[in-house]
Amino acid sequence: MTSFKSWLLAASLGVWAVPASANLNVFATVPEWGALTQELGGDKVSVYVATNALQDPHHVEAKPSLIARARNADLVVATGAELEIGWLPLVTQQAGNPKVQAGKPGYFEAAPLVPMVEKPTRLDRAEGDVHPLGNPHIQTDPRNIARVAGPLSARMSELDPANAAYYQARYKSFSERWTAAIARWEHEAAPLKGTAVLVQHKGFPYLLDWLGMREVAALEPKPGIEPTTSHLAEVLEAVQKQPVKMVIRAAYQSDRASQWIAERAKINAVALPFTVGGDDAAKDLFGLFDDTVQRLLKGAQ
């Protein structure tokens, strides 16, 4: 029994000795929240991003590496709205870390902070991979990033009060730069207003809404269901009646369906970074929208 006790003591000391390098260990489910936490936390946070921009965020497995990282996290930053439903609950349950269970201060969701669109009126899997709480791809509108930044900064201060002033100062600086950047992007993207587009997956309602663009049709017959030839033919027919400038898709998606329709409808196929790391220019949140706007402008020509 004594040896068991000393083992337990050693184990618990080991646990408490770990968080040495950074004050706040953050586990971000997707790159945009990783980038935002880094902007707000500077060198006081150590950020692990669970997925990359070339992964479909719907289809992620509860990999051993994710469980190991969630084990040591002080804060999990997730999109919510069931984007991560297939893997995050399993990761947090298996990680043995009570701090980051849903409902605890160490668990933060972005989606409840923004007005959600495309809430399904009919909840039925026959409609494809629908999300009951609305479309979870909220990061494509920079105003949503701003809506999340404040509460996220406050949460970081709550968990790490010793650095509250630091987080607050960084939030102020970020917020000012972000507001200026939004104004710049909106100015640059003014010619896009009213532009009609096709989307491959229904991943862009927030982006299109922000820039005043119009989605004519999606190449996926139902959300999350790969485009079929018969559905693409219908889309092609629709496009002949209602001309569009381009078809847009996220970096992680296969280009086959987009190229197929682009060739036949004589429109541009545009791959958007979708999140931080989606292409070489989208190195951070500012780069993400700089590049998104430029690619859209180019696609509209």
Partner: protein
């Protein structure tokens, strides 16, 4: 902006102390004071953020006016209150997540499944290819939810095609345990090996590998307690220990107090770049069998009733490696998995236990046997996968003691080749065609063809690795 003055040093100290292990015993008054300070801190902070957002909004409005010549789309008010979450209400609001799995199959077997046996290996649990023709598979009903702030619960009931109900898993998890511990209790599939914890509908082939059938009776379940510990390092390392009643094959029910079986295991895993991930592990099971009776052909060709009493030790080495380009498994991916089993049994062995042959004899018995499988599954385009599997068992060394007069030590190596193709049009449905050539008894080849469907209804299932 003024330097922050709202973080008193005392508060920092108090928080630091309260966050450290329970060495520091705060009095109620201290706690109340800390709570009050935290509340004040929050309030101050929120007020500041609101003020800041208001300033930004004003600045934005001013800017919009300046550039009125080139009208910009209206910027969203940053300080807009977040929409109130639509709270579920009513008595149904606390309903747990419910899902059902429907399965059915058509089997064409060239050998009579009633006569299935793995020669040289004691039978137990659910083994064999199942019945011929059309049949319903196991239908599964799963209910799970957080119980309260300390526990989560999970119930998985299996409805068999023979119209019986069995509780596959029914366990609680203590979710508030510190130090990376995950305690689980009730009935559950053991964490040993790789495939054992997965339910049958999640397997990549319709049936369990021969090694699972021969050494664990298909799948090892337990009524008992499990504790897992996740190491506090960036590399995944999980240690697990289980105690249980030991009723399941290779053990048996023994009407005794105390612990009937024990399992320990270690799993490690991680990623190599963005495209590769892996997990490997070692597991060890110790259990006891009492009057484990079955029939076995003796040297004279009689179907003799035999019985084993003794200990059973099983060790498993497992690995799985998954590849998906850039971690995106949507279009193509590949999965390779294999497990190696050893089993050692030692005890008393009774020949002709029912006395039908009038030759009842008990003697010392030891056996050392092994087996393995290796399988690969490749998704070559969205929704379509192909897979191949090879199974092989080694009868090893069996010492019947004085029963060697009646029984022959096995020498035949059972093996099986399996191929499958499946179509998964969504996360919730799968149709599979599987062909296998199974040689589990000397001189007998069973050609097996299966067509199977798996439909999942209700709550979104977890993407287990």
């Amino acid at each position: 902006m003024a330097k922050p003055s709202f973080v008193p040093r005392a508060l920092c100290t108090a928080l630091a102390l309260s966050l450290s292990p329970p060495l520091y015993a705060a009095s109620d008054a201290d706690l109340a004071e800390i709570r009050e300070q935290i509340r004040q801190l929050k309030e101050t902070y929120e007020a500041r953020i609101q003020a800041l957002e208001q300033r930004l909004k004003d600045a934005e409005a001013a800017k919009t006016k300046e550039t009125a010549a080139a009208p910009l789309p209206e910027a969203a008010p940053l300080a807009a209150a977040p929409p109130a979450p639509s709270a579920a209400s009513g008595i149904a609001a606390f309903n747990p997540a419910i899902s059902a799995v429907l399965q059915g199959r058509y089997a064409n077997l060239s050998q009579d499944p009633e006569k299935f046996a793995i020669s040289g290996f004691a039978p137990g649990g659910e083994i064999g290819p199942g019945r011929r023709g059309f049949s319903l598979g196991e239908s599964e009903l799963a209910i799970s939810a957080n119980v309260d702030h300390l526990f989560a619960g999970n119930l998985i009931v299996s409805l068999t095609p023979e119209n019986t109900v069995s509780v596959e898993e029914a366990y609680g998890v203590y979710t508030a345990a510190p130090y990376g511990l995950v305690p689980k209790f009730g009935r559950f599939f053991s964490g040993l090996g790789y495939m054992n914890e997965q339910h049958q509908h999640a397997w990549d082939f319709i049936d369990a590998p021969l090694a699972y059938q021969a050494f664990l009776g298909g799948q090892y379940g337990n009524d008992g307690l499990q504790v897992k510990w996740i190491a506090p390092i960036d590399q995944f390392l999980e240690l697990g220990a289980e105690v249980g009643n030991g009723d399941s094959f290779p053990g048996s029910a023994r009407n005794k107090n105390g612990v009937g079986s024990g399992v320990v295991y270690a799993h490690a895993g991680g990623d190599i770049g963005a495209s590769h991930s892996w997990r490997a592990g070692l597991s060890y099971l110790q259990t006891r069998a009492q009057d484990r009776n079955y029939s076995q052909l003796d040297l004279a060709g009689n179907d003799a009733q035999v019985s084993f009493n003794g200990t059973s030790h099983v060790a498993i080495a497992d690995f799985v490696w998954k590849y998906a380009p850039n971690g995106n498994a949507q279009n193509t991916n590949f999965k390779l998995q294999g497990e190696y089993f050893w089993r050692r049994e030692r005890g008393d062995f009774t020949y002709d236990v029912d006395g039908a042959l009038g030759l009842t004899n008990t003697s010392a018995y030891t056996s050392r046997q092994s087996g393995w499988y290796l399988q690969g599954v490749y998704q070559f385009m969205p929704y379509w996968r192909v897979g191949a599997r090879y199974d092989r068992l080694d009868p090893g060394h069996v010492d019947y003691g004085s029963n060697a007069t009646y029984l022959d030590s096995p020498a035949f190596h059972p093996e099986r080749y399996t191929l499958m193709v499946d179509w998964t049009p969504s996360e919730f449905s799968r149709v599979r065609l599987q062909w296998g050539q199974s040689k589990t008894q000397a001189g007998i080849t069973d050609n097996e063809l299966f067509l199977q469907y798996i439909l999942t209804l209700g709550a979104h299932g977890a993407h287990k690795f």
